[in-house]
């Protein structure tokens, strides 16, 4: 069974933006969409290591700030490469990461 790892209040991330978190030594990009959803992915773009949390975000995609690679926040799928996504939940206004 998995367990929940608390990341912190959702208010840490402005709507429509992302932030990079350090969770137990692992960097995560966490996004808070304007529609109110939360997504988490690996922090760095597999192309050239761009900080994905600094990218432009809409309902389901993030655009890497360095070379405009686009990834689907739900699946991690990009045009020619993919990123790892992590399941997250909101409980009482706090973001939680689902861990194995």
């Amino acid at each position: 069974m998995g367990h929940l790892r608390r990341i912190g209040p959702i208010s840490q991330i402005p709507q429509g933006e992302g932030r990079t978190f350090n969770v137990d030594g692992m960097k995560l990009a966490v996004f808070h969409t304007r529609a109110g959803e939360i997504f988490a992915t690996q922090a760095e773009c597999p192309h050239r290591g761009g900080p994905l949390a600094d990218g432009l975000v809409d309902a389901h995609t993030v655009v890497c700030p360095l070379h405009d690679r686009i990834y689907d926040l739900r699946t991690g799928q990009g045009a020619d490469c993919a990123i790892t996504t992590y399941p997250v939940e909101i409980l009482n206004g706090e973001i939680h990461l689902l861990k194995e």
């Binding site: 991330i13 402005p14 978190f21």
Partner: protein, 814 residues
């Protein structure tokens, strides 16, 4: 082994070149070399005689080998010694001046002389050629022509071939009236056809040469010296001097008197050896090989090599097989290339032709069975190298004949796309080849936009976008589908910019999220559309714009330029590139305190602190205590300047002062593309104002020329002069008005150089300078409102705009 004796008769270009080739093959150890020259000089480049005549070069400048060269190479040289006799039995030659020399091997390289036709009155009373009549073949001829021309009012040149034209050109420079008399229907019959000859004639007449065609000269008038020419049609032409350039004749008499076979010249075999005597070789214009006598240098170089290979034993099989005649010339400043035939000979010869008379451009190719057999290029000879090679090698030509005549540069056309190899890189930023684009089209993406999205071609600096579009069209066989969204201002809202602006105003949409909600088809936001909309809303609403930071690119969220490692660069304001010791010390202290890895001067005359972490940005700004330089934004960036009037001894206007005013007014003004400006204190343009988005150049009396649409980045373009105004305030007004019009009408990321070209400079001038649309006041007022609404974003160091705005990583508690 004793050295053999090589005697060379003739010290011109052929003789000397042949000896050079022999020496290059170790001939100094095989031969004692003796050379005889009829002229009193070392050997010189006869082709350059026309430069001496026109005064471009001095006779001392055209020597190939000075007399000292002969000494250094152990060559015995007899000058002013024309050889008059060859005794083949005793292998001895004798010169006019009595000098004799014995040979084991003899080389005849006597060249040719000017052909002076037998004209009435050619000779004076003393039986010699009449004073004032010259050939055009030697340094002495040139010296005589120049000396006489200075005292002449009118000179006539007989002969409309290359030599005649060069003589006429040279004479023009000596102040006399120049007439050129030619027997043929057009000029340069050996190299040109009728239309090309006619074009060349027009060019020459424009330069002041009077040309008489189809005139056969009958005689030279005057008793002791020239007073005119008489023609067969009964007319006459008064003149003080005559240059006869009616062709050349081989100096072959020496061969005939020695009993060698002479037809038009001395007949040789494939080793360049006389057909009658295996110890006598002949090269150059006095040699006849397979019925041909050559008067150009290229065949001569080949002959000299064959001779040297053979005589030194380097290659006893060396053979000359004749030359195809192709030549590049410059006649009267007109570039010319000619090869082979000038007219088709057979019914099936194909002629490819282009003529643009008013620019003096003419191109004609004669193609036989897919191969080039003749060609004339005049005015534009950019394809000459390729064509001359194809002609010389008899190589097959591409089916697309148009590409034979023109080098079509970018933006590329179909013909060059046909030629472009698959592995050619189209997008250098993202390394996309033509073949990759082809594969993408084959995969079903049939619009430029879809191909660009899939391959990333054109998504870097953007300079190849139009080429990518053309290649997609090419792969689609000319039937690329146009994606209607190319006309949209942003991809997610199906409206062109003017319609979008109208809708935004109508609905009073003041934030990016409000625009998506009201105008996007399904009300959804779109990441790629956000920054363009934010920029537009700022322009439209100024202070009323509702700033949503998530709509902005990271640079505009943290007011610094993101680098490849996720750090940022910090550029403080430094108007006109002017700073102070106090500022420099603060910058240095900041760089030390924050361990800034790179301190770099920018192209915009500022100082860049590169590699600052996001977390340090607010502290760095605080310690700098300087305003933001906006070096991260699609906005007004900076204004460079030169020293101007303060110290520069050439300055006509206070460029530094004006740059400071410009920066003070326009700093932080958002725009569709970045705006880089410059001011120059004089037209020397040290600050490169002519290649800026807007540049002001002082021209004296408080007047400034305003350049717009310049570029010196991925595209290079000199700006267009918008207008010339008096006073700095007028510069500020016109600059602001143009910038505002650009803000309201340019596409997202469209730089001014593209915008100005799209609109046309006349249209821009009409709107901005002449107020043709009656919007000048509105533009000025809109810019004024924008200026008033800008504040220094680095003040967010004490008033964060969003949560964790400057946190690069947020630690999570265990």
């Amino acid at each position: 082994m004793a050295k053999r004796r090589l005697v060379v008769v003739g010290n011109g270009m052929a003789g000397a070149r042949a000896v050079e080739e022999v020496l290059a093959r170790g001939g100094a150890d095989m031969f004692d070399i003796t050379m005889f020259g009829a002229e009193n000089y070392g050997n010189y480049n006869r082709i350059l005689l026309s430069n001496i005549l026109s005064g471009v070069q001095d006779s001392s400048e055209i020597f190939i080998n000075p007399v000292s060269w002969y000494e250094e190479n152990g060559i015995t040289l007899h000058l002013g010694a024309a050889v008059t006799e060859i005794d083949r039995a005793s292998r001895k030659v004798r010169a006019e001046n009595g000098v004799t020399a014995s040979y084991d091997v003899l080389l005849i390289a006597t060249g040719s002389r000017a052909f002076i036709p037998p004209l009435d009155g050619l000779n004076g009373p003393d039986g010699r050629i009449k004073a004032g009549v010259y050939g055009f073949r030697t340094i002495d001829d040139c010296d005589g022509i120049v000396a006489t021309a200075k005292a002449s009012r009118r000179a006539a040149v007989i002969g409309g071939g290359l030599l005649g034209l060069e003589a006429a050109r040279g004479l023009l420079n000596h102040g006399c009236e120049v007439h050129l008399v030619h027997i043929g229907k057009h000029l340069m019959e050996a190299q040109l056809d009728y239309p090309a000859g006619a074009m060349l004639r027009a060019t020459m007449q424009k330069m002041g040469v009077r040309i008489h065609l189809e005139k056969r000269t009958a005689g030279i008038l005057g008793d002791d010296s020239v007073t005119g020419l008489a023609f067969h049609d009964g007319s006459t032409l008064g003149c003080d001097m005559v240059v006869v350039a009616a062709g050349i004749r081989p100096n072959a008499e020496i061969g005939r008197s020695a009993g060698l076979t002479v037809e038009r010249a001395i007949v040789v075999d494939n080793h360049m050896r006389s057909v009658d005597d295996m110890n006598i070789y002949v090269v150059g214009e006095c040699a006849q090989h397979r019925g041909k006598v050559y008067g150009l240098v290229a065949p001569l170089w080949d002959q000299a090599k064959v001779f040297a290979d053979h005589v030194t034993g380097t290659n006893r099989d060396a053979a000359y097989h004749g030359s195809k005649l192709a030549t590049k010339l410059k006649v009267m400043g007109v570039e010319l290339a000619s090869m082979g035939l000038t007219e088709p000979e057979h019914e099936f010869d194909e002629v490819v032709q282009f003529s643009e008379a008013h620019r003096g451009t003419y191109k004609k190719l004669i193609v036989r069975e897919g191969r080039l057999v003749g060609g004339i290029l005049m005015g534009d000879i950019s394809k000459a190298a390729y064509l001359m090679q194809a002609f010389d090698r008899d190589s097959p030509l591409p089916d697309e004949r148009l590409s034979l005549l023109f080098d079509l540069g970018t933006p590329a056309q179909k013909v060059t796309l046909d030629e472009m190899p698959g592995e050619a890189q189209v997008c250098n930023c993202n390394g996309v080849t033509k073949a990759a684009i082809g594969a993408c089209v084959a995969g079903g993406r049939r619009t430029a936009k879809a191909v660009m999205a899939a391959t990333r071609a054109g998504m870097g600096c953007g300079s190849c976008k139009s080429l990518v579009g053309e290649i997609v069209t090419w792969f689609c066989g000319g039937a690329a589908e146009e994606d209607p969204s190319v006309h949209y201002y942003v991809p997610s809202i199906p409206l062109a910019k003017p319609d979008l602006v109208r809708a935004i105003r109508e609905h009073g949409l003041k934030s990016v999220s409000a625009v998506f909600a009201a105008l996007a088809p399904d009300g959804r936001d779109d990441a790629a559309s956000k920054p363009a909309l934010a920029s537009l809303l700022i322009t439209l609403w100024d202070g009323q714009y509702q700033d949503e930071r998530d709509a902005r690119f990271i640079n505009d969220r943290v007011h610094a330029n993101i680098q490849k490692d996720g750090t940022f660069s910090v550029v403080p304001e430094m108007p006109g590139g002017v700073t102070t010791p106090a500022e420099l010390m603060r910058i240095a202290e900041v760089a030390v305190k924050y361990d800034v890895p790179l301190v770099k001067l920018t192209g915009g005359q500022r100082i860049d602190l590169v590699g600052v972490t996001k977390d340090d940005l607010p502290r760095v700004w605080a310690d700098l205590a300087m305003p933001a330089g906006w070096a991260w934004a699609k906005s007004y960036r900076t204004c460079k300047s030169c020293i101007g009037t303060d110290y520069c001894r050439f300055g006509l206007g206070d460029s530094m002062g004006l740059a400071k005013k410009i920066e003070g007014r326009f700093r932080g003004i958002d725009s569709p593309g970045k705006l880089k400006l410059a001011t120059a204190g004089c037209p020397r343009n040290c600050s490169e104002a002519m290649v800026k988005d807007v540049g002001a150049v002082a021209v004296g009396d408080d007047r400034w020329e305003i350049y717009i649409g310049g570029a010196a980045g991925s595209q290079i373009r000199k700006g267009d002069v918008l207008c010339t105004v008096t006073g700095e305030n007028a510069v500020l007004q016109m600059t602001g008005r143009f910038m505002q019009w650009y803000r309201e009408n340019a596409k997202w990321k469209e730089r001014t150089h593209t915008f100005v070209e799209r609109m046309g400079i006349e249209r821009v001038r009409a709107v901005i300078v002449e107020d043709s649309d009656g919007i000048a006041d509105a533009l000025d007022a809109a810019m004024e409102a924008s200026v008033a609404s800008v504040s220094d974003p680095w003040l967010e160091r004490t008033a964060r705009k969003t949560e964790n705005q400057f946190a690069s990583v947020i630690p999570v508690e265990a």
